[in-house]
């Protein structure tokens, strides 16, 4: 093993953005607009910032137009609160919902190609969970760019950051956060394309590494969403929050895990099991196939668990059928053509004549790195880490609590990105320079990588990865229970042990996928472990977290879970109170913001 | 994945002839027929450039009619007439396809499947008619009237393109390339046609000399030779630009080409003007 790992060079921008997705870049642009000339380096794991996963979001971005005659911001706030199963923070709800329209205008002015109404204004469409008059009728609240809203956002913030001269390190991963006296002063970055390690020392570091649900067998997340960001946070001894809250979408296309929108069921699509039985009639006799996402997901999983699911011959995954054959031709052609096209394109099925294989798919992680309302990363429920910020799906401020409403995530990442940008710009004003590279910089990542490079085991990476995915889907997925979770934790420990004896196929540092996957696997295991622990501790069901043994929400657990893990498997839990400032302010309609039922 | 393949109906049309070639169907499948058409256009253009150099060289013998006659004797055989006929393929293909390109780019005629079909149909008609006349021989047409018509059509077609393109911000030479193309379309196809209406007379030095001495013809031929060499020169210039990244080498080659083509253009103009 001749190679000695070392830091190749040191870069000293003012700001380091880890994760150049929608959130990270919105933040970078905000800083540049407030403080022109700020030097910013943005690191991204993908091949170009434009490839970040924000680009895959389709539906839309929620915002209440103040000129709208019927919709009101308070309705949006209520929907979000209710949707979260009363576990989001009301100060964040207020902040995000109130500035939503401004963010839409910001995007529009910076060149996003929103779909338009006849009058040339931004068009809006209804979306699940968004209602008028406190849950009475559908609200037209989601601003959209055809079926590619996320792409529009991504293109806009990416192009704007180019304009401001943000420097990108593509195909590079942040692999260790650097601290001095408790202040974050940057990170070590590994550049995949040339195999070099860089130290980036910055006055402020912003983490926005996005989604993290690749540990599930079927997931809508991209190949790069392996929870690296959270793992870095955990390594640094910082907490993560509400990780048990994972959102599953009931109808993911088997294999690629692509979303088959609720619209299909809205137009009359029926879920069937192996025997062709329309099983939703059994579980929800009235709402049937249109029951809420989490319920439908659970029913599908139940069918599969009780042996009434099918196994996909090519992708080897369990699934049920979505039947669209009886839907009239003209509906196929006009209203659901796009989504049906996905079945055609990705699994070669003609929905008009064949059954479509679907299965619940891990979609969104509500939890993340806890931040205060300015996006400053928290050390515990009170204190923040100076110099470290977080936004986007990676962070939990938290707007979503234990369940996210569709279209609220894009909204959150843009608003919180802006909020963090504003905060950082102010902070940069009199922040000290980060100083020299700390003595022990890189020690953690180098020992990690040396271990990988020295590994001479027999186990193949894919074995562990697949075992992990199945395990998480079965035991820490849609359904959870005490026994399963405990088993999962044991199994995870085993997997981690196995991961120490993997077989590395090439010892090159340049674009070595195998090596990087070792690193990612470590993170997947870390984050999975924390999810399992958090899920075990929350002995209730709330939002995306469903415990079979405790199927009801319980007031006892009216708090956010904080979790720390510096040593694998040793998870320490803490709590953060849920902000109820709207309720406490006793303004108009305050009673709607108490502990209410989540019923649709 | 399968949709774009179906987008061009051209493929279906050309199946019989072209699908037999492995290379062509490889490109047709991976890049579409437009890609092949572009290459064919380029190759035809290059053949024409070479032919023009050769053409001016042979015409220069007109200074000494006796030499011209002996040269013509030399080429007056079956193989050479076949080549002469075969020349019609690149000529008419380049001319019609060039027209298609101009229509696509500047006149918004984007029904490409149909346009490509027309290129092939008209080309075949032209080539076959040419063969017919070559075999028949002895056709009569009033030279004055013929060339007047050609000149008028050329003027009209180039004016239309000029009007359509000149105000745009495209490079001036680029625009001139299209305008000259439009001017050449009737001229080249007419020229080729005329020379074959009566194959024997087409090569007869007396007839040629008589025609060249007509002032109207002189004017037209000078315009012809200037535009062809400009068009050829700019064509070569853009091709060079596609392949050579080094800007010094590129300028060097541009100068070289301009010089060679300039000399030939001068020689060509001198022939018609001084004989």
């Amino acid at each position: 093993m001749g190679k000695k790992l070392q830091i190749d060079s040191i870069l000293r921008p003012e700001v380091l953005v880890i994760g150049a997705g929608g959130a990270g870049l919105r933040c970078a642009v905000e800083i540049c607009e407030r403080r022109p000339g700020t030097s910013i380096i943005a690191v991204t794991k993908v091949y170009s910032p434009q490839k970040s996963h924000t680009a895959a979001a389709q539906g839309g971005m929620a915002a209440v137009d103040p000129k709208d005659p019927v919709d009101k911001i308070i309705y949006h706030m209520f929907d979000t609160w209710k949707g979260s199963d009363c576990s989001s923070d009301q100060n964040i709800i207020k902040k995000v919902c109130e500035s939503a329209w401004e963010q839409i205008l910001w995007l529009e002015r910076h060149g996003m190609h929103f779909s338009r109404t006849e009058e040339g204004r931004i068009a809006k469409r209804p979306f699940g969970g968004h209602m008028l008059n406190f849950g009475k009728v559908k609200a037209f609240r989601a601003c959209y760019e055809a079926d590619r809203t996320g792409k529009g956002i991504m293109d806009t913030v990416w192009a704007e950051s180019l304009k401001h001269g943000v420097i990108f390190l593509n195909q590079s991963v942040a692999c260790e956060l650097l601290f001095r006296n408790g202040r974050c002063i940057g990170a070590i970055v590994f550049m995949e394309q040339n195999g070099k390690f860089l130290a980036v020392l910055a006055k402020a570091t912003i983490m926005a590494t996005g989604g993290k649900t690749r540990m599930y067998q079927v997931s809508t997340n991209c190949r790069q969403n392996t929870g690296d960001g959270l793992a870095l946070i955990l390594q640094a001894g910082l907490p993560v929050m509400d990780l048990e809250a994972v959102q599953f979408h009931p109808t993911g296309i088997v294999g690629p895990g692509i979303l088959a929108s609720e619209a299909l069921r809205g137009e009359g699509g029926i879920l069937r099991n192996k025997d062709g039985e329309p099983f939703m009639e059994r579980y929800a006799p009235t709402a049937k196939d249109l029951a809420p996402r989490d319920l439908v997901s659970r029913c599908i999983m139940n069918e599969i668990r009780e042996g009434r699911g099918c196994v996909h011959p090519d992708h080897k995954l369990p699934h049920v059928w979505l039947d669209l054959r009886h839907i009239p031709e003209h509906v196929h052609r006009t209203r659901i053509q796009e989504v049906c096209g996905f079945f055609c394109k990705f699994v070669g099925v003609q929905p008009q004549h064949e059954l479509c294989p679907v299965t619940p798919t891990a979609h969104y992680q509500m939890g993340g790195s806890p931040t205060n309302e300015f996006g400053e990363v928290q050390k515990d429920a009170q204190e923040v880490v100076p110099g470290l910020y977080a936004c986007g799906e990676f962070a939990a401020a938290s707007l979503h609590g234990h369940n996210r409403l569709g279209t609220n995530s894009l909204l959150e990442l843009i608003t919180m990105g802006q909020v963090v940008g504003e905060r950082v710009a102010a902070y940069l004003h009199d922040a000290e320079a980060p100083g020299d590279l700390p003595q022990d910089a890189g020690s953690h990542v180098f020992s990690q990588f040396s271990r990988y490079l020295a590994s001479r085991g027999k186990t193949h990476y894919a074995e562990i990865r697949d075992a992990l995915r199945v395990l998480m889907m079965e035991k820490v997925g849609v359904f959870r229970n005490e026994k399963g979770l405990a088993e999962a934790i044991e199994k995870l420990k085993e997997l981690k042990q196995m991961a120490r004896h993997m077989k590395l196929s090439s010892r090159s540092l340049i674009m070595n996928q195998d090596l990087l996957q070792f690193w990612e696997l470590d993170h997947l295991l870390d984050v999975s472990m924390v999810i399992a622990h958090c899920a075990l501790a929350r002995k209730e069901s709330r939002g995306g977290h469903y415990r079979e043994d405790y199927p009801e929400r319980s007031p006892e657990f009216q708090y956010h879970t904080l979790a720390y893990m510096t040593e694998y498997g040793k998870v320490t839990l803490g709590r953060r109170p849920i902000d109820m400032s709207i309720f406490e302010a006793r303004g108009e309609h305050y009673e709607k913001f108490g502990i209410i039922e989540r019923k649709y | 994945m399968d949709a774009p393949a179906q987008r061009t109906g051209i493929e279906a049309y050309l199946i019989g002839i072209l699908k037999r070639s492995e290379k062509l169907s490889y490109y047709a499948r991976s890049r579409g027929w437009g890609f092949i058409m572009t290459w064919a256009h380029r190759i035809a253009g290059l053949i024409l450039v070479l032919y023009m150099l050769f053409h001016i060289y042979t015409l220069s013998a007109l200074y000494e009619p006796a030499a011209f006659v002996s040269k013509m004797k030399f080429v007056d055989n079956f193989i050479f007439s076949f080549f002469e006929w075969a020349l019609a393929v690149p000529v008419i293909f380049h001319a019609l396809n060039g027209t298609r390109l101009i229509l696509y780019e500047a006149f918004r005629i984007r029904k490409d499947a149909i346009m490509v079909r027309w290129v092939f149909v008209l080309s075949s008609i032209y080539i076959l008619t040419l063969a017919f006349f070559m075999l028949m021989g002895n056709q009569q047409v009033s030279a004055g009237f013929f060339w007047l018509m050609v000149a008028i059509t050329s003027a009209i077609s180039s004016t239309i393109v000029y009007k359509r393109l000149w105000h745009t911000q495209n490079g001036i030479l680029w625009k001139l390339q299209r305008v000259s193309g439009a001017f050449l379309l009737p001229l080249v196809s007419g020229h080729m046609f005329f020379m074959h209406l009566n194959y024997q007379v087409g090569h007869d030095v007396e007839t040629i000399l008589a025609r060249i001495s007509a002032p109207g013809m002189k004017a037209l031929d000078v315009a012809f030779v200037c535009l062809v060499f400009f068009h050829a020169g700019f064509g070569l210039y853009t091709i060079i630009g596609d392949y050579i990244e080094d800007s010094r080498l590129r300028s060097g080659l541009t100068v070289l080409i301009s010089f060679i083509l300039g000399v030939f253009a001068y020689a060509g103009a001198k022939i018609v003007l001084t004989i």
């Binding site: 895959a56 205008l105 180019l162 077989k503 | 499948r29 256009h41 745009t168 911000q169």
Partner: protein, 236 residues
């Protein structure tokens, strides 16, 4: 019900450490609806973990996984085995990286290099139009939007640039498209600057209307049409 195919993949490989390139042949069995990215993963899992390939979203939405399959540039996360067999009429496929940028390893290219051309045309609004008097959004009629909305769907996968006849001294179809979008966007005021880029030596004159770009574009954008609009000098 599921048909298995015996596939042969001839994959171009390149090792940056030794700077050797070669073609490696992999044989594998695969079900009809596996996508090419799944095949690569299968090769990684079962035969050769060293094969490097690129993908991200695997939704056909990011443009990371572009490669040449039997010469045709396409998104490998959208290409089902079944469709490939049908389209190319063979079960043997050559897999090569796109040619728009140098290869880093195997099928992974240096996208950053390829992107330089897109950066050059400035995909943002250079100089925004004055705001609407009401202070809210700029009004764009759906009719106007319709003329260029197709072009906004480009995901910069560089398939078109790989297919094009012109490979050098050319910004490429997608970069031109990014420029043209902003020329057609009523919110952009710096039209002249954009025109200068558009008609420069690296711009439209290099396009030969080969339409290979439109032919291969996975988003089915008629790029040639937009470039022709530019040549026509009339963006309506």
């Amino acid at each position: 019900m599921s048909q298995e195919y015996d596939l042969t993949l001839k994959i171009s490989r390149y090792d940056p450490d030794t700077q050797l390139s070669w073609v490696q042949v992999y044989r594998l069995k695969a079900g009809r609806i596996l996508r090419f990215v799944d095949l690569f993963r299968k090769i990684n899992d079962e035969q050769d973990p060293t094969l490097a390939w690129s993908s991200s979203c695997e939704h056909g939405q990011c443009g990371t996984c572009g490669m040449k399959i039997n010469g045709k540039p396409l998104l490998t996360c959208e290409l089902l085995v079944e469709n490939a067999v049908k389209f190319f009429k063979t079960q043997t496929f050559t897999v090569e990286p796109l040619t728009v940028a140098p290869v880093i390893r195997d099928l992974v290219i240096d996208m950053e290099k390829a992107y330089e051309r897109v950066h050059f045309v400035k995909p943002h609004i250079i100089q925004p139009a004055p705001q609407h008097p009401d202070g809210d959004e700029y009004r764009i009629s759906p009719r106007v939007l319709e003329t260029y909305v197709e072009a906004t769907r480009c995901i910069n996968c560089f398939c078109c640039a790989t297919a094009c006849v012109t490979q050098k001294n050319y910004l490429g179809p997608n970069a031109l498209l990014a420029n043209i979008v902003r020329l057609m966007d009523p919110r952009e005021m710096a039209k002249q600057e954009r025109m200068d880029i558009l008609y420069s030596d690296q711009g439209t004159p290099r396009c030969r209307t080969a339409q290979a770009c439109s032919f291969v574009c996975p988003k089915e954008i008629d790029i040639a049409h937009f470039i022709a609009l530019a040549k026509e000098g009339n963006f309506k």
